[in-house]
Symmetry: C2
Subunit: 392 residues, 2 copies
C-alpha cells in the first residue's frame, strides 16, 4: 500500500498567499467592477529594467540559431552570472565570497525551502515569529516538528520579534542547531545592525549552529552602516548560508532568478562529530534535483550588474522607498484586532489587499503587513480608501 | 551541533552527468584543438522552434511595460499553458486529463526527484535497472534505502531490463508500493505496448501501489499503437502520476519547462488506511516550495501547441529519428567491456562522448548509451571516428 508522508497532515490550512489569492478572487467575482489595490503579497508591478529586457531579447535570439543555441547549462548557474554577483554584491562590500560559492536558482522560496533537506531531521530549530511561512512549513513537512497546538508547532524554538525588542529577537536561552534570520525583515521591515548580527554569528560559532540568512530585501537598505550580507560579519563564513533574490531588487517575481551562497568552509557534522562541508552536500542536492535556470533569464539577471542596469534598479527601489518602510518595502501595522478580520474588512470596505499578520505567526495575530510593491498613484489611492474605511 | 542528513553519505561518487562533464573538460583542456562530438548526455543542439522564439520575444516585451508586466504567476502554471497541454497531449489522444490536474514546473528532473517527498519513507520501492539515476539518488537522500553494497543499494527492488526480457522488466514477485517506469525508455530506448503497460496498471491497482511514469520521450513515438501516456490505459488515473518535459520535444533543455500530471482521483493512504488525494498533497508541496515558471518561458512553451509550432517540432524530431533508435533518441549498445573503460577509450581515441551504462545501474555495466541529440553531420562524423577507433 502506497503511504503518504504523514507530516503533511500537521500543516495548518493552506499556504498563506494562496489563501489570500482565493479570497481576493472570490471578492472580485462578486464585485467585478471594483478596482482592487494589492498591498498584500510582495509582488512587483513595474516593468523590468530596460537593461534586463535588452539582454533577455538578445539571449532569446541566441536560442534561435543552431550556432549560438544553449542546451543544458551548469546546474549551479553560468560563470558570467556567478562572477558578476561575487564581484558586485560581495567583494565590492568587502565580503569574501567567490563565484563558485554561489548557486543560481529559480527562487529564494525554493532555496530556503529546500536547504533543510541536506540537514538531519534530528536537530533543534529556532525560527522567528512573525516569519515567512516557508521556513516553518518545510520543516513541518520534513518531520522536524510536532503537531500544531495552541497556535504553534511543537519542537520549534520560536524567536519572538515584538515591539518590546524592536523586532530583533533575543538570543535563545538554550542551545539550538539551526537558526533562520531575515534582514531587512519580512514581514516587520526591521533591520539589524552589524553589532547585533555579530552576536548571532558568535552564538552560532559557540554552539556549532548554522544560520540560514535570508537577505532578499538587502537592496532596500539606504544606510551604509546596516549590513547587506551576513558575510560582512567576521567569522560568518563558517556558520552561515545566505539567500538572495532578484525578485524584489529588479522585479523578477515573474521572471524567476535567485541565488544561495554556501561558503566552502561552512561546516556541519555527522553523528560521530566528523565535519562535512555544506558546499559539497548542497552541490550534490542541487545537481541531482535541479537542472539550472533558463539561459535567457540568467542573461537578463546579469544585466542588473551593468552600469545601466544598476542605475535603473536604484531608480525603481528609490521610488518604492517613498511609500514603503525605512530600508524595507514593508510596513508592519498594529491592527488592534484579529488580523484576518481586519483583512476581510479592508478588502470589503476599501478594496485593498493587505497580508494578515496571523499568517506569519502568533506574534502577528493583531498585525497586518502592507507592501510598497505598487505604483505611487495606487498606494496613494489606497491610503485615501483606508482612511475612509477606518472612518478617520 | 548542526548535523547533516547522513543518508547523503551513502550516495555513490558524484552525479553521472557531472562526472562526464568534468572528464570531458579535462580532455578538452589537454587537447584544445580536438573537436569533441557529444553523443552522451541527451542534450539538444538545434535552435528552438521559430514559433517558440516569436512567443518568447513577445512575452519579454510584455515584461517591458508596466501595463502588461507579470509578477508572481500561479505556482501551478498559467491556465493558457495547462489548457493547451490538456487539450493537445491528452484529450486529443482520448486520455482524460483536465487542465487543473497539470502542474507546470522548470524540469522533469526536479519533479521526478521531488515527488517522493510527499510519500512515506517507510514504503517498498521498485526501480528499473538500468535507470535514470535521479530516481534512485533522491530515494537514497530521503532515507528509503540501505547502504550501497555489491553494486546496489539495499532495500530497493531492482526491476532488471535486459536483452532477455526485451528491456521490459517482469512484474515484481513480491508486493511493492512505489514503481518507477519510463517509456520510451532512458537509457535503453525500449518502448512498451498498451497490453504490457496495462499489466503494470493492474498490478498497481491490486497492490494499492503508485506508478511514477516518466514519459519525457513520448514525442519520439512513431507508431500509433504505442501509448504516449499511461492515461491511455483503463484505470491508470487512480494509480499513476505522469511526468513530461519540453526538453527533448522542443529543445527546451536550456529554456526549462516541464509538467507533471496528478489526477484528482489518484490516491495514497495514511497508516490507518484512510485514503488521501495525491493532488492536494502535491499542490501543497508545489505552492510551498516552488514559485512558478518564468512567464516568458511559459509563453514559449504554449507556442509548441500552435499549428506552426506543432509542425516545427515534428520536423526536429523527425530529423533526430534518422540517427536515433526507433521511437527513441537513444541507442543502447553492448560494449562487451567495462563501460567507463569504453567511455575513456572513445573519448581518447575518437573524441566522441557517450554515456557509460554503469551510470544507469548494474545491468548497464557492459553497455553504453548513444544519443541522437546532435546534427546529422556530427553524428555521421562520429560514426566514422568510431569505426576507426574500434578498428572496423
Amino acid at each position: 500500500m502506497i503511504k503518504i508522508n504523514e507530516h503533511y497532515l500537521k500543516l495548518q490550512a493552506s499556504y498563506l498567499f494562496s489563501t489570500i489569492a482565493s479570497r481576493v478572487a472570490d471578492y472580485q467575482k462578486k464585485n467585478p467592477d471594483r478596482e482592487i489595490i494589492r498591498l498584500g503579497i510582495g509582488d512587483c508591478t513595474r516593468a523590468l529594467p530596460i537593461a534586463c529586457i535588452a539582454a533577455f531579447h538578445k539571449a532569446v535570439d541566441e536560442m534561435a540559431a543552431d550556432a549560438s543555441f544553449r542546451g543544458y547549462g551548469p546546474e549551479q548557474g553560468y560563470a558570467f552570472l556567478r562572477e558578476a554577483i561575487s564581484k558586485n554584491d560581495f567583494q565590492a562590500r568587502g565580503a569574501d565570497v567567490s563565484a563558485d560559492e554561489i548557486f543560481i536558482s529559480d527562487g529564494a522560496k525554493c532555496d530556503t525551502g529546500n536547504f533543510q533537506e541536506i540537514l538531519s531531521t534530528d536537530i533543534r530549530i529556532a525560527i522567528p515569529d512573525p516569519v515567512y511561512p516557508v521556513y516553518i512549513d518545510t520543516n513541518v513537512m520534513s518531520g522536524r516538528t510536532g503537531i500544531f497546538q495552541d497556535g504553534r508547532y511543537q519542537n520549534i524554538i520560536y524567536l519572538e520579534s515584538t515591539r518590546k525588542n524592536n523586532y530583533i529577537p533575543d538570543l535563545p536561552a538554550e542551545p539550538v542547531d539551526l537558526i533562520y534570520l531575515c534582514y531587512p525583515n519580512n514581514p516587520t521591515g526591521a533591520t539589524i545592525t552589524k553589532e547585533a548580527l555579530a552576536r548571532w554569528v558568535d552564538f552560532a560559532r559557540k554552539n556549532k549552529a548554522l544560520i540560514l540568512f535570508d537577505a532578499a530585501y538587502e537592496a532596500f537598505i539606504r544606510n551604509d552602516a546596516i549590513p547587506h550580507s551576513i558575510y560582512e560579519i567576521e567569522g560568518a563564513r563558517e556558520v552561515a548560508v545566505e539567500f538572495r533574490s532578484f525578485s524584489k531588487t529588479a522585479g523578477f517575481t515573474g521572471t524567476r532568478c535567485a541565488f544561495t551562497v554556501v561558503p566552502k568552509n561552512c561546516l556541519a557534522y555527522d553523528e560521530s562529530g566528523h565535519a562535512h562541508a555544506l558546499h559539497g552536500l548542497w552541490n550534490r542536492r542541487h545537481t541531482t534535483k535541479f537542472n539550472g535556470v533558463s539561459y535567457p533569464v540568467q542573461r537578463a539577471a546579469e544585466a542588473i550588474y551593468s552600469e545601466e542596469g544598476k542605475a535603473q534598479v536604484k531608480e525603481i527601489i528609490d521610488l518604492m522607498s517613498h511609500v514603503g518602510g525605512e530600508h524595507s518595502p514593508y510596513i508592519w501595522i498594529n491592527a488592534n484586532r484579529d488580523s484576518w478580520t481586519f483583512f476581510d474588512m479592508l478588502l470589503e470596505s476599501a478594496g485593498v489587499v493587505c497580508t494578515p499578520g496571523a499568517g506569519f505567526g502568533a506574534c502577528g495575530q493583531q498585525y497586518i503587513r502592507l507592501s510598497a510593491f505598487n505604483s505611487y498613484e495606487n498606494t496613494d489611492k489606497a491610503m485615501i480608501r483606508l482612511r475612509e474605511a477606518l472612518g478617520k
